[in-house]
Symmetry: C2
Amino acid sequence: MKLATLADGSRDGTLLVVSADGRRQSRAGAIAPTLQAAVDDWATVAPSLRALAARLDAGGGDPLDPASLLAPLPRAWQWLDGSAFTTHGTLMQQAFGHDPIATDRPLMYQGLSHRFLAAQQDVPFPSEADGIDFEGEFGIITDDVPMGCSAADALAHVVLIVLINDWSLRAIAPIEMKTGFGWVQAKPACSMAPFAVTPDGLGDAWRHGRVCLPLRVEVNGSWFGDPDGGAMAVGFHDLIAHAARTRDLPAGTIIGSGTVSNPDYDRVGSTCLSERRVIEMLARGHAQTPFLSFGDRVAMMAGGAATFGRLDQRVVQAAMPGTAAV
Amino acid sequence: MKLATLADGSRDGTLLVVSADGRRQSRAGAIAPTLQAAVDDWATVAPSLRALAARLDAGGGDPLDPASLLAPLPRAWQWLDGSAFTTHGTLMQQAFGHDPIATDRPLMYQGLSHRFLAAQQDVPFPSEADGIDFEGEFGIITDDVPMGCSAADALAHVVLIVLINDWSLRAIAPIEMKTGFGWVQAKPACSMAPFAVTPDGLGDAWRHGRVCLPLRVEVNGSWFGDPDGGAMAVGFHDLIAHAARTRDLPAGTIIGSGTVSNPDYDRVGSTCLSERRVIEMLARGHAQTPFLSFGDRVAMMAGGAATFGRLDQRVVQAAMPGTAAV
């Protein structure tokens, strides 16, 4: 089953059920007004949403206009982003020039969750000098997870899977990282592809707590990479158990895989500019690929455009207080 | 003006206006159902709330029962915690055994915001072995702050001031800090004193973007410290501008000062155990004061119990899935 959120002028939008082919939709209406309301009461509302999805797949509902959508979860109470791809970690430590991170625990930080940008929405940044970059990753949305939930019990709490672009500012990231406090300025709002998909909606691609699909990135219309999400060193169940060690996770918590990255990057490319830049640096002594400029476009999809829908966004200059937008 | 939130079985509670002496209350009712609703539309609703407060101060309303309250903002879309007290930073780097943090920016991390515990609520932790500690600090609650807001413009966005106990797990904190990703397990839910106070409600104690009041901590009924909040190296306006450099801040964002700490700690004590432990270690070669045990109580207030009300909580063993609570 796929869910989406219709823009209606409110912060949380209106919940839609979407057909498996991504072409038709129907309002969830009285079943649940918003995606947050649905995950707050998932066990009760999911069967009714599934019944609506079955009617859509039989030809019911109305045509879907992707431009009318918000992010499936336009804001969340908690966004915890992991870093579960070993290749990404190894390349980034070379990019940032720091020592290998010595830890036997999953890596995770808490990020901005009060806004997830819509799949076709312009992405505003204050300055190109901050090193504007993207990160392609998968995320899961949980129902209520109690403190102390084990990895063995955690997969049952995964109710939806999403595709995320975790926008990152590379001129700031290593400075903040060196404080030990994690990232604030270096991690502005993320974007989310149009459809949130139930685990069974991914079929065999959801296995071992991993999304085993290539995540395809295009920059200004050209292929940039399509590494596979199955290469996580730890699965989402491990990330959930890590997050829940000393806190409960409220329904609607989003947990990210970290940037999808594979060891054979020479063949499959990357899902962020920083990785490609450090690969170039290692091979040729200097990075050739620049960070993004205002006007550049970044697109992402995974498993075909019907699965999560397509992220396709333009990077723009933010309108700053007291200044006119460029 | 003071605001509080009545427990009513919902996650966000019912907004109350409280008299200046903290003894009487009246429901905000149709003015704003919750504190989040009030800050979402602060310019419009504040005058009506103030009119209600004036009637309370003239003897209207009903008696206030502190045990009936939630945290004034029981959950928030964003909690960004600074570390603005130089003495705290210096002592903690000695406690954690790391190098001084070399940065010319304010220190800040994003923390758990989906729950702030009530002032008299038991505080559950999974294990005493995690090094259970408290941190006394002040926080401000903003209205909507645009990306790029300057420090000069930032103070106008401070609508309320709160007193926070930022519970911390010291056996985990340095491990997470060394990853550079900030804290997840080491920073469970914070607690908040009963009353959120407008800046004018603090009179002269709110100046230079700082809460110039001693923050008094008691552990198991004994004085532990009362350093002054005015010693922040940077003010809340600087913290807001730092946070808003690459993101907007939604109404209801809470920004923390970090642990209140003064250079004359021999006289004024501390607001966290870790500081006292490292002071003991420096003076005598070993820490004498233990971290907290289940059953221990921590109380905090600032500027007298009427100002923010009194935090007074007991540390308890969390009920874990599949186990009986101790």
